[in-house]
Structures are given as C-alpha cells and as structure tokens.
Subunit: 694 residues, 2 copies
C-alpha cells in the first residue's frame, strides 16, 4: 500500500531526457529543467532539473551528446529526514573566471583555471524548508560540483549517513577501477571491465565510453569529510558511497560548510584526460603555507629495498637495516650520484614486536642504539645530503597524533626535511583513541582520518617538514593548498615487485598513469635496475622501462629504489637516474591508451632540456612521435635509453638495453619501439650546455 510510490514508479521508469530550457532559470520546476550552464568553449553543458517529486538532478552533455543522464543530488542523514524530495529553486547564481597560477613545483610551472560557475540554491517547499546549494564549475575538459549546506534553523548540524549523489552514464563503456571496502586499502591492481561490471570502486575511476570519450571520476579538496567511493547501482549508474568511520554518521559537521568537489574529467582520449586532471588542482584552495622555499623536491635513495626483499629487518637484531654503518654507505652513494635524499626506515624504537596494525610501541624521536642520529645528521650534512625520516604508525593514528610535535621537532633538529609516514594495517583497522579514552576503529579514508592526515601535514609545516604519506587518504589535489604534502603512496607501487607472489604485471604503470596518478603524485619507488626481488625473483619489466618511469610517473620526491650494490652494476643506466630532475615547467602526453602504453615528455624546470618517458604493457609496441615540443632552431642531443636487442620482460634479456645519442630538432620524428614489458627514456639536452657523456 502506498500513495507516493505511484509517483516513484514514474520516476523509476522515466528514461526520457528533459527538454533543454533556456540558459537562465526557467520557472518550470515540476519535472523540468531549472538551470543550465556551459563550459567556456560551450562544449560541455550541465543541466539541473527537478522531477515531479521535487528531487533535484543534474545531467551532462558534451557536444550535444548525453554523457551523464539525470543523476540525483542530495543527502541522507542519520538523525533527520533526507534532503531530497520537495525541493524548489530559490536562486541561480552564475560566474566566470579565467586566471592562472604558479605551482612552486610540479608538472607545469603555470596552470590556467578557466571555468564558468553556476550555483543553484534549493530549498524544501514544506516542512523543514532546509536549504542546499549545488555549485558547478565547468571547464572545457571537465566538471566539478560540490554541495554547500548553509547555516540554517532546521539544519544546524549535519550528521550525514551518505550522499545521494549519482553519476548515471548515458551509455556503456569500459572502466578501469579498483575495489573499495576490502581488506587491503588502496593497493589493488586496477580491473578493466565493462562499465556495468564494476562493483564498488575507489576513485579515480577511469572510463572509456563507446564513442571513445574518456571520463575520470574523482574528487577534489577532500577536507573534513569522508572519501567518496562509487557504488554501481544498476547498469551504468553509480552512486556516491562515503567511506565509513567509527561514528554512526559518515560525516558529522556543523552546517555552514561545503563538501569536496565531485569531479568529472572529460577528454577525447587518454592523453587529454591527463591534461584534464589539472582541474583537480584548480578546485583546491591556493597555498596556505606562504613561503614554501623550504620544501625540497628531489630524488632519494634509502635503507628500504633490502627490508622489502626480506634481507634486512626493520626491527633490531643481527640483520637490522638502519645501522649507522649502512646509512653512511647510502649517504656516500647518494652524494656520489648527486641524489639529495636518503630515506631510512626502521631507525626508531618500536619495531621489535608485532607492529602490523599495532604501532603503540613506536617512538618517533627515539633512535635505536645502533643508529647514531647526531653523527648521521653531521655526516649527511657534510656530504651535502639530507636524511628522509620515517614514521610508521602501524595504523595507531592517535598514538601518532600524541607525538606529532615531538616527531617533527626531532626531524627539524636533525636536518630532515621530508618524513615518510605509514599506516600499515588493514582496511577498517586504524586505531583511534578519543580524549575520553574510548577506543574506535577507523577506515583509512574516513572523515576522522582525513582530518588526521591534515593535522600531520599542518604540524609538519610548522617544523618545515614535508610529508610523503603511505597507506594514506587518496590524493585530491591538496598539494596545492599544502605544498609540503609532497607525495603519497595509496596504490600498488614497486614494493609488490619485491615479493615473489606479488609481481605487478607489465601493464601496471600504463594503468596507473591514467587512473590513480590523475589524482596526484605517487611515491612509486621506481628504478630497480637489478629487475629482481626477493630470492632473485624476476620483475616484469625491461631495464629501459625502469628509467622511463622517472618521467612517466610524476612525483616531486622520487626514489631510486634499488641498492647501491646493484646500482654499481649499471653505471651507464645510472647516468639517466642522476640526470633526470623531479621538477618540471611543462608536461605533455604525446600518446597513450589506458593500460596499454603512454608516452610523456616533460621540460626540466630552469632548463631547456626535455625528457621523454614511454612505457608499454606485455606486448611489443611501436609508435612514432613528432618532436614538436622542442624549441625551433635548436639542435638537441637526444640521449636515448631504449629496449635493446631481444629485450623481453619474460627472459633474461630484460636487461637488454641500447644507449645511444642522436642529434634532433623540432619537427623530427622518432619511433619508440617498446619490447614486451618495455619502455624508453630520453633526455633531450638543449644546446649551449654540453651533454655529459657516458
């Protein structure tokens, strides 16, 4: 028995697209369009409508073709009726903006932010008369929208059970995604499935529609809110599914706030999607830290790969990795190779017990007896190198909270400009202890953890320390606002290649660059030139690909992950790792297909040199690129590191590499021939600066 479901039934069965009204607010608010706005170039349009029940939805068209059909908007609360039905439009505000801003470091020196903006204020017609704003920013290559719950009498505090936000794709497609809510946080391989075979996905989720259009769903500026996942409802329709926390509401906040931006990047191809990802940064607030000249992007080596491989230990004992002697060896190696940073893991007290999921013994300013902190600080400084700290919490986040000032004071006192953090525990197992002593279990991307991470980053900034978060909350572009949040893991990095059972497949990096890395930099730890993990197990890569990763996978802090002993065996390849910078003035994706291949060129900051990185998958691939990005009238020396004769990730020939130089100029073409599991790296040395010879 029901009366209202009569209308519900209509809604459920209504597939007809609403007729488009004028650009301005139409007064037809009964199942009709109430507002529309377009991108600066007019190609992307957003249409807001209200159905017969007064439920708001948005739809997206691109070049007149439906991209997303009517997709709902609204909130479920744990203690109040949902904000959904019976809405009316109070007003529609419009704006335009075309500005540019500079990154202190990054993939591009300057980023343009050119968008139109439309804010629709909705109000319940009866009962509580609650209000909700939805603001859309429409770029030529994507859309961001967010909700604002203004301060109001009948919604003083929002206990959000979930969002009602939908993303209803107009047609079928192929999706690259990794699952949400499982045991292993974010560290899954990306699945490639039909769009309508996605389960519940983390973002970034990348979609290639039937007509070739590429779309990436993600979010920007995730602050004081739970991360958004995408639950496929039916067919090609997804709904927002916020990450749970320890409390009943997934988000609990006083009204008078805005949600993160829900982002829909759109492009003709994978390369365009990479460029469209700048929207994520544009939707974040500008730098809040002021002078950030103390932030040190750069490469680093580290006392780490030997632990990951199982040869050294984090804990004390005969195989302890973080000894004064080992670290001095790494400092020497870094200095000799002009690598500014040396990461040391396992340097502190707290690793001796079962620390997985339990970091309560961790002490972040107390080194082990065999780690002479003062001497190493002195030694590093004398060699022109800095140490990179490491704070592994074992997921005991409150325990870390209680030591933050101490931890970063320790770092500052020892000349440590970057700290890598870690939250190694399973999904849903973060330890939170409230001031009243009550214990809770949090998810890695819950509202509380989102706030925890920002506490860490803001506290670190006070001590001029940068943060490289592992097992983090996903990257939503906050590096713009907090430039010292230099990188994150949050995905399946090189470490899986250390493990005999866990090798990443050859397509992995061509997946990552067009999925997770659209969200921001990843501390992937490339450069394992030995191409072998524990017990000599083979990594599914050629050696040239390891070099290419330094260009393909952007991060302001990038590891040379292999050991000094191994690097000593590959002096010719090591030159590229020495040469390649970590900061760029320009970036262009020359070609690519999600999960198949990608060719990216970047221009070194403060230099006219360009670098090219190309990675493929398990197939041999060849593509021709035109060197249009070079300056006209200059002859560059291309130092080419390409897959050599017979190179193949499946055989011992994975180490086959051809290193050669060529003179090239703007407009020349180059054929990039990738071996199975292969890659190619090139440094284009600009004239006027002598290319160093091997």
């Amino acid at each position: 028995m029901k009366f209202v479901p009569l209308a519900l039934a209509f809604a459920a069965f209504s597939f007809s697209a609403p007729a488009l009204a004028q650009d301005d607010l139409s007064q037809k608010t009964d199942g009709n369009v109430v507002a529309r706005a377009a991108s600066p170039d007019g190609k992307l349009t957003v249409t807001i409508s209200l159905d017969n029940e007064g439920r708001a939805s948005y739809a997206v068209q691109r070049a007149g073709k439906p991209l997303l059909t009517d997709s709902r908007l609204g909130f479920l609360f744990t203690d109040a009726p949902k904000l959904d039905r019976g809405m009316s439009v109070v007003e529609v505000k419009r704006d335009k903006s075309d500005t540019s801003w500079n990154q202190p470091f990054g993939e591009w020196s300057t980023i343009r932010d050119n968008h139109t903006e439309m804010t629709v204020r909705l109000r319940e017609k009866a009962d509580l008369k609650r209000e909700m704003d939805v603001t859309f920013r429409i770029f030529d290559d994507g859309i961001g929208f967010r909700y604002t719950l203004p301060t109001q009498a009948n919604l003083k505090h929002a206990n959000i059970a979930d969002e009602l936000t939908e993303f209803a794709f107009a047609g079928p497609g192929t999706a690259w995604w990794k699952p949400a809510y499982l045991w292993n946080r974010e560290e899954y391989l990306y699945n490639k499935t039909p769009l309508d075979a996605v389960g519940t996905a983390q973002t970034v989720m990348t979609v290639k529609l039937a007509d070739g259009t590429h779309v990436a769903l993600h979010e920007a500026a995730l602050v004081d809110y739970a991360a958004m996942n995408l639950q496929r409802a039916e067919g090609n329709t997804f709904k927002a599914s916020l990450t749970p926390g320890a409390g009943a509401p997934k988000v609990s906040r006083d009204a008078g706030f805005s949600t993160p931006w829900r982002t829909i990047a759109v492009a003709d191809d994978a390369a365009g999607l990479y460029a469209a990802s700048r929207m994520t940064l544009n939707l974040n607030e500008p730098n809040k830290l002021g002078d950030v000249s103390w932030i040190k992007p750069g490469k680093f080596v580290g006392v780490w790969w030997n632990m990951i491989k199982g040869e050294w230990t984090w804990s004390r004992g005969p195989k302890h990795g973080a000894t004064t002697a080992h670290v001095k060896q790494y400092i020497d190696f870094a200095a000799a190779n002009h690598i500014p940073g040396v990461l040391v893991e396992g340097w502190n007290v707290g690793w001796d017990g079962n620390w997985f999921g339990n970091g309560k013994d961790m002490n972040f300013d107390q080194p082990t007896e065999d780690f002479d902190a003062a001497e190493l600080a002195r030694y590093a400084k004398a060699k022109g190198v800095y140490l990179i700290g490491h704070n592994e919490t074992g997921g005991s986040a409150s325990h870390y909270d209680s030591q933050l000032d101490r931890a970063f004071k320790y770092a500052q006192d020892h000349g440590i400009p970057v700290v890598k953090t870690g939250y190694v525990t399973d999904a849903g197992q973060i330890e939170r202890v409230d001031p009243d002593g009550s214990q809770h279990r949090e998810w890695h991307e819950s509202q509380w953890m989102v706030n925890h991470h920002l506490r860490v980053v803001e506290t670190a900034a006070k001590y001029h320390v940068s943060i490289d978060s592992h097992e983090p909350v996903k990257d939503t572009g906050l590096r713009r606002t907090y430039p010292n949040w230099v990188a994150r893991e949050g995905g399946r990095g090189m470490e899986y290649n250390a493990w005999e059972g866990g090798k990443n497949p050859p397509e992995h990096e061509a997946n990552m660059v067009f999925t997770q890395l659209l969200g921001g930099p990843m501390d992937f730890t490339p450069g394992v030139l030995s191409l072998s993990g524990s017990n000599g197990s083979a990594i599914k890569s050629t050696i040239a690909k390891q070099l290419a990763l330094y260009v393909v996978l952007y991060s302001p802090v990038v590891m040379a992950a292999d050991t000094p002993e191994n690097y000593a065996k590959y002096p010719r390849e090591m030159k590229f790792i020495r040469d390649v910078p970590t900061d760029w003035s320009d970036t262009r994706v020359l070609n690519g297909e999600v999960g198949d291949y990608a060719t990216i060129v970047r221009k070194a900051k403060g230099s006219d040199d360009w670098y090219l990185g190309a990675v493929g998958d398990e197939e041999a691939r060849s593509s021709t690129v035109t060197l249009d990005f070079l300056d006209a009238g200059k002859i560059y020396t291309a130092e080419i590191y390409r897959d050599g004769p017979g190179a193949d990730y499946r055989t011992d020939a994975r180490h086959s590499i051809t290193i050669e130089t060529r003179q090239v100029k703007k407009g020349d073409t180059l054929t990039i021939a990738l071996a199975p599991g292969g890659g190619e790296a090139i440094r284009f040395v600009a004239p006027g600066k002598k290319a160093r010879r091997r």
Copy 2:
C-alpha cells in the same frame, strides 16, 4: 613499506585450491586444510582452511567440482581489532541429524531436516586470544553456516562494523539480483546479469553457473542482527555487507550469541532450487508460540485496489475508501465467494496529512467517523467473514512501538485475526526515537528494525493476531518460529500494475518464484482479472495467468486484489479463485527456468485435490508435464483454465481464456501452452468428491 603485506601478497595471489586432507582435523594449520565435512549423500563438501597468516576460510565443492573457492570468515569491529588473522583451530565438533517436523500450514505438511554438522572453534594464537565458532550444516541441497561469538574475557560485547564473510564463486555464471542501499527499499525488478556484473545485491540472489548448477545465496533466522547484503568485490567474489543502522556498529550485542545462518542452496536446476529452499525453514528454531490454531491462513479481498488505482483515498473526504458502506459491500462479496477475509486500509485516524515517511499522526485504535467499527465487526461476524486490519506506520516505527498493545487489543476486540503493517518511507528513513528522546534514522533491515519487527510479531501473538508485514525486513524463515508472521511484501507486487508508469514485465513472477520467494511467502496480491490499473492502463498478463499466480506464488494469506465490480464480470474465472486453497500438504515444481517460466503443483491440505499453476514470460511457451503426482488408480477431473485463442498480454486478447474439463489419471501427460504473458491454472478434482461445475 610493509613487512606483513609480503604475506598478504602471497595470499592475494594464491589461486591454488588447498589439497584435501582427511575428514578429521589435520594438524596442518599453516596455509592448509584443517577440517572437512560432507552432506549426507556425500555430494556437497565444505573445507575449512587457514592461510599462512592464520586467516580462516571455507570452500565448497559439489560432486568433486569447486563451487566456492576459499572464502574468508571473520569480523570487523568498530572498537577492537578485527577477528581475522592469527587464528588456530581449538577443536572441531561433528554431528548428524535426520528428523522431520510438521508445518502448521505451508507448502508442505512435513519437512525433512537431514544434515551433517561441523563446528570449528577458532582462537587467536596471540594478543587477545579471542574465540569464534563457525558452524556448518550441510544438507544434500545446500549449506548453512553461522558464527558464534562465545562469552569470553576479551570480547564481552561485540560492536560489529561488518562481517568479513565471503562467497567466492569458482567460476562465471548468470545472476538474478536486485540492488541494495538505494532509495526504494526492496521493490526493484530483478536484474539478470553476468555474475561478475552484479553491484551490491540484496538476498535472495540466485545464480546459474556455467555448468547449469543453480545456487541461491540468502540467510536464515535473522534475529537481533542486521540483514546481510552481497557486495561484489572482484570478479565472481562477493562479501557480506551488513545493512547499516543509526548506530556506528551495524550490530551491537553482548557476546554469547550466534549470527543468522548464511545459506547457500544448490541444485541442478531451478526446480531443485525451489525444493532446496526448505533449508531456510530447517535452519530456524521450532515454533515458539505453542498452540497456533488461532492463526487463520486464507484468502482475502480488500478496500485497497481502488486506492492504489487512485479512485478512492486513504484519507478522509468525499472519496474516502474505508467507509462503513464500502466495507459492507466487500463483506457481502467475500461471504458470497467463500473468501474469509476483508482487508480495510485507511480506516483509522492519521492519514489526512503527508503521511509518506511520517506516520506520527497515525492512531491504531481510532477509526475515522465514517467507519463504524463495532457495526462492521458485528456485520462481518454475522456473515462468517473477518476483517483484516491495517497499521501503516509511514516509517515512524517508534511511534508504532508505543501503540503496539493498544493496536492489537483493538484488533482482538473487533475480531480481527490478521493485521497488515506498512513502513512506507524511503530506504534509510525509518524514524526511531529512543527513550531519551534522541531521534535517529534507521534502514528497513537494520538490527534495530529486525528487532522492531519481532516486537510487533510477538506482541501481536499475545492478542492472537497474525502479521502480514509490508515494506518489511526480508523473510528468512522466521515463520517457522513465529507462525503468526504469516506473510510479507518486501518485493515488487501487483500494486506496480496499478500505476501507469510502473507495470511489471511478463517475466516478473517467473523471476520472483525463483528469487525472493525462495526466502518465504510474499503477499503479492494476485487476481486482478480486469487486467487494468489506473486510467484503464493494461496489465502485462493474460487472465489465465492471474489465476495461475494463486498456485505459483505461495502465501498463507492471499488476496483477491480486484474489486467486487470487476470480479462480477468474470464469474467463470472467479470459480477458480473461490476453489483454490491457501494451505497445502505437498508442493512440487514440475519445471522452470529463472525468469522464463515455472510450473508448480500443490496438493490441497485435507483433500486429495491437486492444483497446478504455470506462468511464463513475454514469449509463447509450451511444455509437457506428466501427471505423476496424482494417486494411482484414480480418475481426476481436471478443471483447466488456459490461455485462449490469440491470448497475448500486448493486445485486448489478454482476456482470451479457454475453460474446459478433462478426465485425467496418474501418468497422463498434459501440454501446457502459454501465450505471451500467459499462464495456466488447473484444479485436479479427486474422485469421490463431485467437481463443482461452472
């Protein structure tokens, strides 16, 4: 950086099936089988193993073929480490049981319960040393398992964030499922998709594997716990996803309890799956109510369809449905047609405002002025008919809680043996008010609502009232324990056919019988012989199919949903509705394919008559059935109601029907020819009792 993920990686990449150990406990608990048990016929086996991390999983084989591969077991808590890793086996207990029990009413008089049982007690080896039992009951046609968290020092109270339970299908298949967590509770059409294209599904989910094996996932005995949904994780692997509630834990209970049974029914075909569904009843506790002779299964008519169609109103006014005059007309009609019950909706005070999602004005013992309760009680009794009550809560469950005794006292005082309840509000919008006055929003299948429904049923039993819950918690076989919980809606019933935009497709009932109805009876409200809803909109069914539904869709309380005026136009068909009983001594599914067709025969309780119902989908279908179920040596008169010449749900010929009689005997064959959207109903009248002639 991680140490333990090394082993995690192994676990994630281990696809090899564990070698099967002895039936008895093997001491190999390091990545190996620790216990195995088989069904009484030996065909179904369950294997428990522990991986290298000490995580427990179960696997299922059928006739030596993997059905489910290693599927995890365990719990996430909101305030304690998860119960997952580092487990050891304390002991394995085994048992066997082969008994039979009688249903007071139902599809079968007697149900056999023949199973083996295995309980594995697991204990954490270190740290908290918490214990968890997993008990498997293995039937020839299915498996049920549940957890028990015993009383113990380090787990006094369980605040369960979710279960870790998995169902990892060994191979691909086709799934019939409806989505969970969306706006419209349980009332979705079933999707048919590849197994690996399921999103998050409610149970029952029915699966047909590549080799034709049919599997249904569901649960039994859902008491003081949140309902289980199935979230597809990756590929063909699902994980349990408990329904959220208003509190942070999805389930909160003192230790010393068992979860509901997670059930896996398995059969060679859809017909076998229907029979296997008896496992759900077998896994519930026996009748707790004692003498239940006061429970009245039976047919009913009602002041309802005219409201659903929009011609009368629930609220007071000139079109009010529940007037004394209207109800007397329905009582007269019921009495004339030997239909014992008359449902009246809109009889009470509280309907005049916007009651959808807000039933706070509802008063369950106060009739409207135009409904003379005393007179109608007298009139009905004089005519040998009883009224069926209706308590629509509008989702205000606490408001209903506060009136339960009054409501059922009122029913008892007025000779009302059955009350239909309703919870018409959107998913996640149930109103709960705690004794301290705090307000919360609950989901229809949260732990709190599971408990609410049982409060309703138990209170009703005190007053000898039966409950027919609409917008309920799903049926998990509790009718065995509480026989007065006679039926539920919880799915998409005939009412959708009243609405112009919402018509059920022809395949709908052939879906329902092999999906939702595997969980228990549904108050589907068949028998709309006019085949038309609001404004004369056509229902996608032939008239013969409307009769067939009385046999195909079992429920102890079954409506003849159309109006007396409409039934007056179909006196020949009305005879079948008069004849067909609602209680059976035997049931057999002769043939069927999920979503395509089903032919079911049932034997009338206390009679030798059999009834046959066959329903199809949008295609014309023909099947031949052998009348093996009839008694040998008897000649039966088959009263056949079959699709007539040109019958087709798409045309006015949907009313074409052929009604004829034939003499048949055991072993005869009958061809069942279904029109598009068609059906067939037959009464086999046993000799010695004169078949009533039209």
